[in-house]
């Protein structure tokens, strides 16, 4: 009879451990998903800002059509990739960042554009959004790391395999402000 009780206790402990691990994995996965939607919000804010920026630049530098088309196309590509997995989405967003870097280069050649209030305001907004994108990315990647690690360690790995938990991908995106290398002169 004693052995039955011992087995019963062991079984209860195992079931409780399974439930706790499963819940902790679900919690970590939800945090990761939540952080992903945080990135999504910031990226959409950037998509919304681009048409205004393009229109403003058009007003001062209409014949920079190639750069403006590149930005518009990159934005369309980024919007099309909204439901894509992180890696593809990161590629599309990095292409948009690169195209936006082109607008900054154009602005360097047009002092009137650079000095325009509207352009300055949009540039400031873009810089602020890109800061938020970077912060969201850090939060997401940190949550993904916690989730993936929690999933891989023993005995969580057993529960993860049985529960169909899949590792999440990290999100690496290059933003325009990161591409700007500060000029250093030694004179």
């Amino acid at each position: 009879m004693t052995i039955v009780y011992v087995l019963l206790v062991v079984l209860i402990v195992l079931v409780l451990a399974y439930i706790l691990i499963n819940n902790s994995l679900i919690g970590a996965r939800n945090k990761s998903d939540e952080a992903w939607s945080g990135i999504d919000v910031q990226l959409k804010r950037r998509h919304d800002l681009v048409p205004n920026l393009v229109e403003t630049v058009k007003g001062y530098a209409a014949h920079e059509q190639q750069t403006l088309t590149r930005v518009t196309d990159a934005r369309a590509g980024a919007i099309a990739a909204e439901n894509a997995p992180p890696r593809e989405r990161a590629q599309a967003e990095s292409a948009l960042s690169s195209a936006l870097g082109g607008i900054r280069a154009v602005a360097e050649q047009y002092p009137q554009l650079r000095a325009a209030d509207n352009f300055m305001r949009l540039q400031a907004q873009l810089a602020e959004i890109e800061d938020e994108i970077q912060a969201s990315r850090r939060i997401y990647n940190s949550n993904v790391q916690i989730y993936n690690t929690r999933m891989q360690v023993f005995p969580n790995s057993i529960v993860a395999a049985r529960g169909g938990f899949q590792p999440h991908e990290f999100f690496q995106i290059e933003v325009a402000s990161e591409r700007e290398v500060p000029e250093v002169t030694f004179t």
């Binding site: 939540e34 952080a35 939607s37 945080g38 800061d131 912060a135 939060i139 940190s142 949550n143 916690i146």
Partner: protein
């Protein structure tokens, strides 16, 4: 105009020089000599060699101990006076803080020391004490020390932020100590943010009538990352148009105080930015 003398590195920096000055003071020498003579005379009158020899020695030790305690307190006062002077702040050794936020109204009794203030910003040591009832024995008091930096946010802040309370996440033992939980009894709601690292370090509470959109706008990803990475792990409370940024210790290091002031400035800047943006959106 002469420049203010530099701030000592910490509250103990000037203690040794104060100690030497006090020991060399006429009060210590004359008082000590009289007390030693009295102790010697008492020993001689009672024909006790140990009292004759040990009495003056005990007197010397007592004088040194008193001088040490006084030097410690003087060095602390000097540190804060000089810190205030360098930062163009007014200094008060004792102060009384209004109970604007739950922290400032925590415990059963409160005190505030080394208060420095200028242009709507304050900085100093704050302590709340919780009464421990011991039945027939006398009550004892459990102290909870903080260094707080306050910023006056103004009336507009009062209408947008009904109550936001961020503090370091408490451990199991802290949770068991109900008296130390100054937010208990304020009917607050716990808020979960998306950052796991942030939620590991902090707990965020708000008043039930706090607008959640305004709260989410304040806790933008960049602010969450900034708070998560900050080495001081500062908590803050925002209520009644007053921001209180705090760390749970009596901080006596110039560098750390400076850092806390900078943290308070950054947090208040973010709140003002949020208030300005909301005001602009409202006026459009």
């Amino acid at each position: 105009m002469s420049a203010a003398p530099p701030v000592p590195a910490n509250t103990n920096s000037a203690r040794n020089s104060h100690f030497r000055t006090l020991l060399g003071s006429s009060t210590a020498i004359v008082g000590g000599a009289i007390a030693a003579t009295v102790a010697f005379s008492v020993g001689a009158a009672s024909h006790s060699l140990p009292v004759m020899g040990g009495g003056p020695l005990v007197v010397a030790l007592v004088v040194a101990a008193i001088a040490w305690l006084k030097a410690d307190s003087d060095a602390e006062g000097e540190f804060f006076r000089r810190y205030a002077a360098v930062h163009a702040m007014h200094y008060w050794p004792k102060w009384s803080l209004n109970e604007f936020t739950p922290l400032l109204g925590g415990g059963d009794r409160r005190r505030c020391e080394h208060w420095m203030e200028a242009n709507g910003r304050g900085l100093g040591w704050y302590t709340f004490e919780v009464r421990q009832e011991n039945g027939d024995q006398a009550d004892t008091w459990e102290s909870h020390d903080f260094t707080v930096a306050t910023v006056d946010i103004g009336e507009h802040g009062m209408s947008r932020f009904q109550g936001v309370y961020l503090r370091r996440r408490r451990g199991v033992f802290d949770r068991l100590n109900g008296g130390a939980n100054w937010l208990a009894g304020h009917h607050l709601e716990k808020v979960e943010l998306e950052s796991a690292a942030f939620m590991d370090r902090f707990e965020l509470w708000t008043s039930r009538d706090q607008d959640e959109i305004v709260l989410r706008q304040l806790f933008a990803p960049s602010f969450v990352v900034w708070l998560s990475d900050h080495p001081l792990r500062p908590g803050f409370e925002l209520r009644a148009g007053v921001l209180v940024v705090f760390i749970p210790e009596h901080c006596g290091q110039a560098g750390k105080l400076e850092f806390l002031q900078m943290a308070a400035a950054e947090i208040s800047k973010r709140i003002w930015t949020e208030l300005t943006e909301t005001a602009q959106a409202g006026s459009v």
